[in-house]
């Protein structure tokens, strides 16, 4: 697809850099690739001409491996035979209980990318128009939920509403949703727990409760209002008679 903003990412970067006073004079991405190759030992042999010729090149690609390295670490790792590490299991502190008996895990689907800032503007949205909550038939039946019901999803952090889909893909006790649509507010539900090593937020384990509802959550109502008021595209008016 052609760039929606009229410029490729690299052109936007060049324009921004020039505007900020750091001149960039690239006229084609291949010139940027050439500069990367000149500065990165494992990319020395990479060029657009070679990429066109070979189709793809696996790094390292340099004087030792002119056509790249299809398979790395064939006989040895850099440090020899490798080193095994003990990786002690560090359990989450999130707990399910009477108020929040289900575990929510969030994830992605193929046709949308993360929060969808790019992919929701494309035809991909025909495949995934909204985030839905998948729930096992047992958990749904116990709550009087049928396919397509609007349900409230609540955790210790907050609550949102979204449509339920009954699915045996789920284990009983586990519900699932994606986080591709800002209006869903999946992050309103998730907690501030994170992993010890990288502080990556814990989006796979949140204790929740699910109930039928007939309205968006307060957070969603506020979000819709703000989203509408901040949209600068003029709303169409009825023609005057």
């Amino acid at each position: 697809m052609s760039p929606l903003g009229g410029y490729g990412d690299w052109e936007g970067t060049v324009l921004l850099s020039n505007a900020l006073g750091y001149p960039m004079s690239y006229t084609h991405p291949s010139e940027i690739m050439d500069e990367i190759a000149s500065l990165t030992p494992s990319f020395t042999g990479v060029s657009y001409a070679k990429l066109d010729e070979l189709g793809s090149v696996q790094w390292p690609c340099n004087e030792n491996a002119p056509n790249g390295t299809p398979m790395m670490h064939v006989d040895r790792f850099v440090r020899g035979k490798g080193k095994f590490m003990i990786t002690e299991y560090v359990a989450t502190e999130e707990r399910a209980g009477p108020r929040f008996p289900l575990i929510l895990t969030t994830g992605r689907i193929l046709s949308q990318y993360n929060v969808g800032a790019q992919t929701r503007r494309t035809e991909n949205s025909r495949w995934h128009e909204e985030d839905i909550l998948e729930i096992h038939p047992f958990d749904a039946e116990a709550r009087g939920i049928v396919h397509g019901d609007l349900v409230s999803l609540e955790s210790r952090s907050g609550d949102i509403a979204l449509k339920a889909v009954i699915s045996e893909r789920m284990q009983p006790g586990v519900v699932y949703t994606t986080f591709h649509h800002a209006k869903t507010g999946a992050n309103v539900i998730t907690t501030d727990f994170s992993d010890w090593a990288t502080n990556c937020p814990e989006y796979k384990v949140t204790a929740v409760q699910v109930r039928r509802t007939n309205r968006p959550s307060d957070w969603q109502a506020k979000f819709y209002e703000e989203d509408f008021s901040l949209t600068r595209i003029a709303q169409s008016l009825d023609a005057a008679e």
Binding site: S42, P60, A65, T69, M72, M85, E88, S194, W196, A197
Partner: protein, 95 residues
């Protein structure tokens, strides 16, 4: 809601849990190096100042890592590869 300091205690105790299966001296070095490398100086100061108040809630391995000189101890986690271009193909995890 946990206080900021109690969140630091929780994070530090999780780091201690990860290193607990190593010999104690290595675990203390591993915890210390992780905290020095990835926490801000303010977080380290706050937790160090909070040791007495936290009492038993703060893992003893963390207390040792925060209060002892660990420069002579070896962490089980190796440092990242330096100068990968000098070590040969595949020495870098870049890409």
């Amino acid at each position: 809601m946990l206080s900021v300091n109690d969140k630091l205690v929780r994070m530090a105790n999780q780091i201690a849990s990860f290193f607990r299966s190593y010999p104690e001296e290595e675990a203390v070095a591993g915890i210390s190096k992780h905290i020095v490398a990835f926490w801000t100086p303010k977080m380290r100061r706050n937790l160090t100042d909070y040791i007495d108040e936290a009492g038993d809630r703060l893992d003893n391995l963390v207390v040792r890592a925060l209060t002892e000189d660990t420069s002579g101890l070896e962490s089980p986690v190796r440092e990242a590869t330096r100068d990968p271009h000098l070590l040969g193909a595949g020495a870098s995890d870049a890409g």
